[in-house]
């Protein structure tokens, strides 16, 4: 059946499809009812209803872990929802879970953050890719490049996107890559619809703006409007509230797996939306946790408090007396001791970021993906090129653009990279070889390499750091994710760093190991006066482990939270609100 697409596609005029089909206009494009999903004991989605009308842009917003991604993955057929849910498109009920590969044929298409383009191929080749892959036996039929070119140019013209067909995708600006991905997705959808006879087309854009410079985001909006004018509907999943306010007709807010609000365009201001997302202005949030309640206006004042550079000493003292339930709510060392200073760090997505830490202090960097926080570890460590900035550590001032990883190691910096398998551990090396990597030079004396000594160090290490199985001669690849992460920590902590930079250190790590990792880092910070920069988008983790959290948005420091006011919700609120204020 798929071989026929090509022929029909050439003669039909896609412009006719869409909203002006008579008698259908009342049927919503997509209706999902009572969608639920649990992972282990976590309720990821709890009876969520979602309706998308024809020609409507619906935004889906919520914190990390609110259930946004789970909902998207249920629509794409990746997750199987619990029984009792319903999904219909164009008034036609669909089986759940959505059968794999069927989403496209029923009028759903997805563009994810990574866009799924092939960077080495040209715009034209990328546009045609799915028809190449999809055609099955037709893959043997010749490619008529002239015809394909004409067709591709026509498609791009239809969506009012101008791109050079022969440009390599890798060389395009990120925004143009995003536009190409959206056009391709929209066009593929049309092709399927013409064979299936369906009329709805719903495009799910999952965080499409995070890696785009703000001035480029409007190019995307033009394209989304064109899509809607052609009769499509859009589900826009985003953290970027400024973008949501501008493009969405209706905004659906998820929190803790429930739909908590649905607001129409122009019906809300930013603070309302942040409160809805975070939920701390309502008592609902507090009851979902067993810990103590928070003052209702807490989150509202966070934005203001955060932009004040210095939190009062008295406040901090008060926090200590009240002995807050959170483990790390104890105050960090006083500000006067912040001897490790990062000034004017620029590079990647960062513009002039400055912050300071005291020895023994654990400072979280919180920011949305694309804020630049995720670039800090690699720039600070000299692994990616910075354009400006200095690092003052141990009385020495280092120029970050001139820093190399080996100088960073010599300055007693340590890096726990997010991609542990590529950058953290030699998976084919044994546990002991990985663990002693930074200290092995000390065991070479008078021309003799004391391998037995290193193995002893490692044997002690696996016990100290709770690595299981406690064996030093197995390959690192044989360990579970959590134990690999402990091994990586052991490797760096054995070298006695003054500053540990951790990026998503508990990613892909089970709950037990996560607690071990917190404990290991805290112990090292206390015992060895090691400062820690902890970068993650898991704000609950920051609340639990950090003394202080620095908010990063649009590449700059935009606030600071500590003590009582440093909660998961307030961090979320600060992050969302700061983004909006700058934008």
């Amino acid at each position: 059946m798929s071989e026929q697409f090509d022929g029909r596609d050439g003669v039909s005029s896609p412009e006719r499809h869409g909203r002006d089909v008579p008698g259908r206009a009342e049927t919503p494009a997509l209706v999902a009812k009572q969608i639920s999903k649990s992972f282990d004991r976590t309720r990821a989605l709890d009876g969520v209803d979602l309706t998308i009308n024809r020609g409507e842009v619906v935004a889906l917003v919520g914190q990390n872990g609110s259930g946004k991604s789970t909902l998207v993955k249920i629509l794409s057929g990746y997750h199987e929802p619990e029984p009792g849910g319903e999904l219909s498109i164009d008034g036609v009920d669909l089986p759940l879970p959505v059968p794999p590969g069927m989403a496209g044929e029923i009028g759903l298409s997805f563009v994810y953050q990574d866009l799924g383009l092939n960077g080495g191929m040209t715009v034209l080749e990328n546009l045609n890719l799915s028809s190449r892959v999809r055609h099955g036996l037709g893959a043997w039929s010749p490619i008529w490049w002239r015809r394909e070119r004409k067709e591709a140019a026509r498609v791009l013209g239809l969506y009012e996107v101008s791109l050079a067909l022969d440009a390599r995708v890798r060389d395009l600006a990120p925004v143009h890559q995003a536009r190409l991905a959206i056009v391709r997705s929209a066009h593929d959808l049309r092709r399927f619809q013409q064979t299936s006879g369906g009329h709805s087309s719903i495009m799910v854009l999952d965080e499409p703006t995070v890696f785009l410079p703000e001035e480029d985001v409007r190019f995307l909006f033009d394209l989304i409007r064109t899509l809607v004018n052609l009769g499509g509907s859009v589900l826009f999943v985003s953290h970027d509230l400024a973008a949501v306010r501008e493009i969405a007709d209706r905004t659906v807010v998820l929190r803790d797996g429930r739909k908590v609000a649905e607001v129409l365009r122009g019906d809300f201001d930013e603070d309302d939306l942040v409160d809805l997302i975070v939920g701390s202005a309502t008592p609902r949030r507090a009851s979902s946790r067993t810990e103590g309640t928070e003052e209702p206006e807490d989150a509202r004042t966070v934005g203001g408090a955060a932009s004040r550079p210095v939190a009062g000493v008295a406040e901090r003292a008060g926090v200590a007396e009240r002995a807050a339930p959170a483990v790390a709510a104890a105050p960090g060392p006083p500000r006067s001791e912040r001897a490790i200073r990062i000034e004017g760090l620029t590079g990647g997505r960062l513009r002039d970021l400055s912050f300071a830490l005291a020895p023994g202090e654990i400072v979280g960097l919180a920011g949305l993906i694309g804020s630049g926080a995720e670039d800090v570890p690699y720039l600070l460590f000299g692994s990616e090129a910075a354009t400006a900035g200095t690092l003052e550590i141990g009385g020495e001032v280092l120029s970050i653009p001139h820093l190399s990883p080996s100088q960073a190691v010599r300055a007693h910096l340590a890096l726990i990279p997010a991609d542990r398998k590529q950058f953290g551990l030699g998976l084919e090396l044994t546990v002991w070889e990985n663990m002693v990597m930074l200290v092995q030079d000390d065991s070479f004396r008078r021309g003799v390499f004391r391998r037995d000594e290193l193995v002893e160090i490692a044997k002690k290490g696996v016990v100290d750091f709770g690595i299981k199985p406690p064996r030093v001669d197995v390959r690192a690849s044989a360990l579970s994710g959590g134990n690999q992460q402990k091994l990586l920590l052991a490797k760096w902590l054995l070298a006695g760093p003054r500053l540990l930079i951790a990026h998503e250190p508990t990613q892909g790590v089970d709950v037990g190991a996560r607690q071990d990792i917190y404990r290991i880092v805290r112990r090292a910070a206390d015992a060895a006066a090691m400062a820690v920069v902890w970068v993650t988008t898991d704000f609950a983790e920051l609340e639990e482990v950090c003394h202080r959290v620095v908010i990063v948005s649009r590449g700059r420091e935009s606030g600071e939270l500590q003590g009582e006011e440093m909660t998961e919700d307030s961090i979320s609120a600060a992050v969302l609100r700061q983004l909006e204020e700058v934008g």
Binding site: F39, D40, A44, N64, G65, K68, S69, T70, K73, E80, P95, P97, P99, P100, M102, Q113, D114, P174, E207, F211, G348, I369, E374, Y378, S383, E384, P405, S406, A408, R410, A418, D419, Q422, F423, G424, L425, G426, E428, L429, E433, M437, L438, Q440, D441, S443, F444, V448, F449, R451, V474, R475, A478, L479, S480, K491, H503, Q507, G508, D510, T537
Partner: protein, 362 residues
């Protein structure tokens, strides 16, 4: 520049996969342990097997001092070149094809200077090694400094160096080099084995010591196995890779001296015959002692396994070209053997670990 290190947003709790993962790990661990012992000594067992087989079939010629001397001495050039090849390979720069050409260039330089220009043999030898080092430096410049693919660059430099060798030889075999050299390389013996074997052994011991008993060697291992990890652990990755290329080239230059001394005269194509056997030995060596890792001791065993095999076959009456077939077959069998046996042994256990798609009927 988009960083490759960022993680995806909102990763869903991946708890359901955990149990399966654990299972898979256990299986792979025990699998690793069983096959470890088997892999590790397979080459040595094969070595002993062919020695026993040849001793039994041609005892009158195989079990002789002359044959031992032949095996150890005649392959010294290959042995030295194998050590040269080992160095860049161990650092993860999988091929330096130009090392064979460097051997040829070194030998030809010695012959031309000594024979045509009457340069004293010692200076000629120094010049030969120097010429090889220059090739190594060029490789370093393009592969390490400008960060290009070593296969492509050394394919190019190999071709250039072979061309240069033809030019300086004026396209003719050059000989006979000073007998002083051949005396000290081939003619003089110690325990009836030509001296060049001991030179090769000395180079081997030096490289083996550095690779196996110093932090430099341990770092080389990390660089070869996980270059990004080495870089982010503060190792001087490029510096060490550069040294590997240059020292490798210098050792290839020494192989050139051994070649000139062994054969007396040097043909313009001298080097090209050695490079592939040397790689065969290195990869074959990687299946022994420390399976999966290039290692010096394994390479030593592999070189003499191959030499013994060909010597035995020749004593059995095989033609000289059987050497090529034996080298190639040994390499394929040695590299494929562990994977083939592992698949067969563990096929049944592997299947249930594979993730099953949870699809409803269409």
């Amino acid at each position: 520049m988009a960083t490759p290190l960022v993680r995806e947003a909102g990763a869903a709790p991946g708890a359901p996969e955990h149990g399966e993962q654990e299972l898979g790990e256990k299986a792979s661990r025990s699998r690793a342990r069983i096959s470890h012992g088997l892999d590790r000594f397979a080459l040595i067992i094969a070595f002993i097997a062919i020695v026993v087989a040849f001793s039994a079939s041609v005892p009158s010629t195989f079990d002789t001092v002359a044959n031992l001397s032949n095996i150890l001495g005649s392959q010294a050039v290959l042995f030295i070149l194998t050590i040269a090849v080992l160095l860049p390979t161990i650092m993860g720069d999988f091929v330096d094809l130009s090392l064979g050409a460097s051997l040829g260039l070194s030998a030809m330089t010695i012959a031309v200077l000594n024979v045509n220009h009457s340069v004293p043999i010692v200076y000629a030898c120094l010049a030969g090694v120097g010429a090889a080092i220059v090739v190594g430096l060029v490789n370093t410049l393009f592969v390490v400094y400008y960060d290009n693919n070593p296969f492509i660059i050394t394919l190019g430099t190999m071709t250039i160096v072979e061309g240069v060798t033809f030019i300086i030889s004026t396209n003719a075999t050059v000989g006979v080099v000073s007998t002083g050299l051949s005396n000290w390389v081939y003619t003089n013996t110690f325990l009836s084995i030509p001296l060049e074997f001991y030179y090769a052994l000395a180079i081997f011991v030096a490289v083996w010591y550095v690779l196996s008993f110093t932090p430099v060697g341990q770092k080389a291992l990390v660089i070869g196995q996980a270059r990004d990890v080495a870089r982010l652990s503060g190792f001087h990755v490029n510096r060490q890779r550069a040294w590997a290329f240059v020292i490798g080239a210098a050792i290839a230059g020494f192989a050139g001296i051994a070649y000139a001394g062994t054969y007396g005269s040097v043909a313009p194509t001298a080097g090209s015959a050695y490079i592939l056997p040397a790689y065969a030995a290195v990869f074959l060596g990687a299946t022994a002692i420390r399976p999966g890792r290039m290692n010096a001791l394994g390479s030593l065993i592999a070189v003499y396994f191959l030499a013994t095999g060909t010597a035995g076959l020749e004593l059995l009456g095989a033609q000289a070209y059987i050497q090529q077939i034996f080298y190639g077959a040994a390499l394929v069998v040695a590299v494929a053997f562990p994977t083939v046996t592992r698949k067969r042994i563990f096929k049944r256990r592997k299947t249930p670990i594979l993730p099953r798609p949870t699809a409803a009927g269409s």
